[in-house]
């Protein structure tokens, strides 16, 4: 009886819902039409006699409107997702198994790439994909300390990346240092060992600059902090451009020594890596070595972060993100806590920067624009603030995704020879961010794992966790 009544009552409700969705979707379609007409409908092109001719593209407008309409409609009529539990219990050892599997894949990746694509193709896959993504994973993990754990919104993270890169590049190519080392140890020493000596120096230098930035912004919170850190990033870049006698300005620093295999250079000389190990010389070895080097650096970042989270300093960072005043009432020195977050985050940025310089062999201020900060920050935000795995996934998707666009030449067969998939990079980037923020406003991994537990490790839903405003 009651079920029949329910069914009878549900039918008009469903129709009403459908009608409302249709109305809403029509509105969206109209809005898209309004936007698409000026952007897509008309295109000016030069013909052979240098005249501008208008080329109507109403087909594109129709496609955009249809897409917007159907997407909105489907989104509205789709059955609501069941409410997710406020807490999530994971089976014991799940995290450990997952990280072991991911680590195995990571370590075997160069060999898999080599097996699948051969020596010629493997360089691209290891370098452009593997190393590139790992650099951003490392940067994301470094920034995660500042933004995700301590809740300090930093829009100028690229400054520390730049400090690390230039610290290595300038020290390694500096004539006084070279001649000093040649006089004291021997001519061959510095080019081989420069990277290994400068790597910690670059990290310390970046950490030092992190503290320098930290002092003036201690009292700032939220938007103000973001603006000042953004300005700091720009200041560093402008100094690099304009301090020509030291940094060589726009021309950049070239001839940066490449890292050696702990003293063995990657060349075809007698004492080179290939000759010593009785292998046939190929530049691939350097790429593979660089891959494992960045894996080691990224894993170091991850290990330190995970350890720090279980130490008082890491808990103080998270407490700072949650409530700064409560921290002070418990005797936590918030000044030191903020400065250590800035310094350690910056230090990892510096390591990544000096690796970047060593990998490229050439750096210029163009590599350290605000766009880099924005990409790293969006990796942290999309990944789920504070989540190491989320950051890694976000970096993989965002950087890997933009790199994969270069591989989509077959799309030209569909859209014509003038179609350049890479030009849509930023558009797709933005679209992905908008979609993710709708679907998962707190990032991909929207759970916080507690640093200590009494009986059971239950993940905390991100809704409970503060985003930090200072």
């Amino acid at each position: 009886m009651s079920t029949a009544m329910d069914a009878a009552a549900t039918r008009p409700m469903a129709t009403a819902k459908l009608a409302a969705a249709l109305k809403d979707a029509l509105g969206t379609a109209l809005l898209t039409l309004g936007l698409a007409v000026p952007i897509l409908a008309l295109r000016t092109e030069q013909n052979i006699s240098n005249e501008l001719i208008l080329q109507p593209r109403w087909g594109y407008v129709a496609i955009a409107v249809a897409l917007a309409f159907s997407a909105r409609f489907l989104y509205l009529v789709a059955p609501a997702a069941p409410a997710r539990p406020r807490m999530l219990s994971l089976p014991r050892g799940f995290g450990r198994v997952l990280s072991a599997v991911l680590l195995m894949v990571l370590l075997l990746y160069p060999l898999i790439a080599l097996a699948l694509t051969g020596k010629a193709g493997a360089v691209k896959w290891i370098d452009n994909f593997g190393i590139q993504i790992l650099i951003y994973i490392m940067l994301g993990w470094g920034l995660n300390i500042v933004v995700g754990l301590a809740g300090l919104l930093d829009l100028g993270y690229v400054a520390f990346y730049a400090v690390g890169a230039y610290a290595y590049a300038l020290l390694a190519t500096s004539d006084p240092v070279k001649s000093f080392m040649a006089d004291w140890i021997g001519a061959g020493f510095w080019p081989l060992w420069a990277f290994w000596i400068c790597l910690p120096v670059a990290g310390l230098m970046a950490a030092f600059w992190g503290i320098l930035l930290g002092f003036p912004v201690l009292r700032l919170r939220g938007d103000y902090l973001a603006i000042v850190t953004l300005a700091f990033g720009e200041i560093i870049r402008l100094v690099l451009i304009n301090w020509v006698p030291v940094t060589n300005g726009y021309a950049g620093v070239s001839g940066i020594p490449r890292p050696s295999f702990f003293g063995l250079p990657f060349n075809d000389s007698e004492g080179g890596f290939a000759a010593v190990f009785g292998l046939e010389f190929t530049p691939l070895y350097r790429t593979i070595f660089l891959f494992y080097l960045i894996v080691a650096l990224a894993l170091l970042t991850n290990w330190v972060t995970l350890r720090l989270r279980r130490l008082p300093i890491g808990r103080a960072w998270e407490a700072l993100r949650e409530d700064e005043i409560a921290c002070r009432s418990l005797g936590i020195n918030t000044t030191n806590t903020k400065l250590t977050a800035f310094a350690i985050g910056a230090g990892f940025g510096g390591f990544a920067g000096s690796f970047f310089a060593a990998r490229q062999g050439f750096i210029s201020p163009e590599s350290f624009t605000f766009m880099e900060s924005a990409v790293v920050l969006s990796i942290v935000v999309l990944g789920g603030m504070g989540s190491q795995l989320g950051v890694a996934i976000a970096a993989f998707v965002m950087i890997g995704g933009t790199e994969i666009l270069r591989e989509l030449d077959w799309l030209k067969r569909i859209f014509g020879p003038e179609f350049e998939p890479t030009q849509y990079r930023m558009l797709l980037f933005g679209l992905a961010m908008v979609l993710l923020m709708i679907w998962r406003p707190r990032g991909l991994i929207a759970f916080r794992a507690p640093s200590i537990f009494l009986r059971e490790r239950r993940l905390v839903r991100a809704e409970m966790v503060k985003e930090g405003h200072g």
């Binding site: 300093i313 921290c327 009432s329 640093s451 905390v460």
Partner: protein
């Protein structure tokens, strides 16, 4: 119950101005060692401002806030410390602190003053246990060798953390939150959050516990439980308590000493019975005309 000897906290001529507004005007009172002292008064009387001055969140415009740990400090010691620019000094058997000179986190860490807030300030995204562990930050920080030793899993830190968990368990037990130890603090019901905030403050092992309206928003049963809990803190741990409260059943039930503020000035000071019958206090709370105060005074005199 009434501990003898000189007070733990002595507030002398405390004034706090915000521009033209005088929130606290030449206030002097003291909080006895091992006693529960309540500060009451109508809304806007400056009670929370006094708290913020004591705990260092505000820098007082003028006045001296003296806290002495251990044996009582001699007047000469106090005068000597005040004359120097220093924040604290060691005495024959203890230490004295001039709170008005110290930053907030130092007051909590060195002078051992802990506080709770009128609008609860927990770390909502951290678990109940984590809240209590964060409260033991300074001890754990030292044990972790300022992070360096802890990073490599030094035994000293592991043991210190185990002790910290034990202390947290003790307080979880006391506030009946053991079952919820692994839940986020923001998920707790209101009354439990109030209890957790007190437990968190107690985890810092304070000499003086400052509670800003601990019974606000609690039902009568919870208020009664709170009263018992505060009593037990006082008797078992010897912690002195300074309390702002509007719930008179709580105030009159547990206070050894009540200070009444109105418009930033002290209008009464003494044991609960004395304050309860003070015509000035009655007038302040009921807002009667001056003539009526005189009448009431006359009646009491009779």
């Amino acid at each position: 119950m009434h501990a003898s000897g000189p007070p733990l906290l002595t507030v002398e001529h405390l004034s706090m101005r915000f521009g033209g507004l005088i929130a606290v005007d030449d206030l002097s009172f003291s909080a006895g060692r091992g006693e529960i002292t309540a500060i009451i008064g109508p809304n806007g009387a400056g009670k929370t401002t006094v708290f913020n001055c004591i705990t260092g969140f505000y820098k007082p415009t003028s006045g001296r806030l003296l806290l002495s740990l251990g044996e009582a400090a001699s007047a000469a010691d106090i005068a000597a410390l005040t004359a120097t620019g220093r924040r604290s000094g060691a005495t024959a058997a203890g230490a004295i602190f001039l709170l008005e000179r110290m930053p907030d986190h130092e007051i909590a860490a060195r002078a051992r003053v802990a506080r709770t807030f009128q609008n609860i300030r927990l770390f909502p995204g951290m678990t109940v246990l984590e809240n209590l562990i964060v409260a033991q930050h300074n001890a754990l920080m030292a044990a972790s060798g300022w992070t360096v030793l802890g990073l490599f899993g030094a035994r000293r830190y592991v043991e210190a953390e185990a002790r910290a968990v034990e202390r947290a368990k003790h307080w979880l037990d006391r506030v009946a939150l053991t079952e919820r130890a692994d839940d986020p603090a923001g998920d707790l019901p209101y009354g439990a959050q109030r209890r957790l905030e007190i437990a968190r403050a107690m985890c810092t092992e304070p000499a003086l516990l400052c509670l800003d309206e601990p019974a606000a928003g609690l039902n009568p049963r919870e208020s009664a439980e709170l009263t018992d809990f505060l009593k037990s803190i006082q008797t078992e741990h010897g912690t002195s308590i300074l309390l702002i409260e509007h719930d008179m059943s709580v105030v009159m039930g547990i206070s050894d000493h009540v200070v009444v503020l109105e418009y930033g000035q002290k209008i009464s000071d003494g044991p609960p019975d004395h304050v309860r019958n003070d015509p000035k206090v009655i007038a302040a709370y009921l807002g009667v005309e001056d003539e009526e105060v005189a009448e009431v005074e006359a009646e009491i005199a009779r």
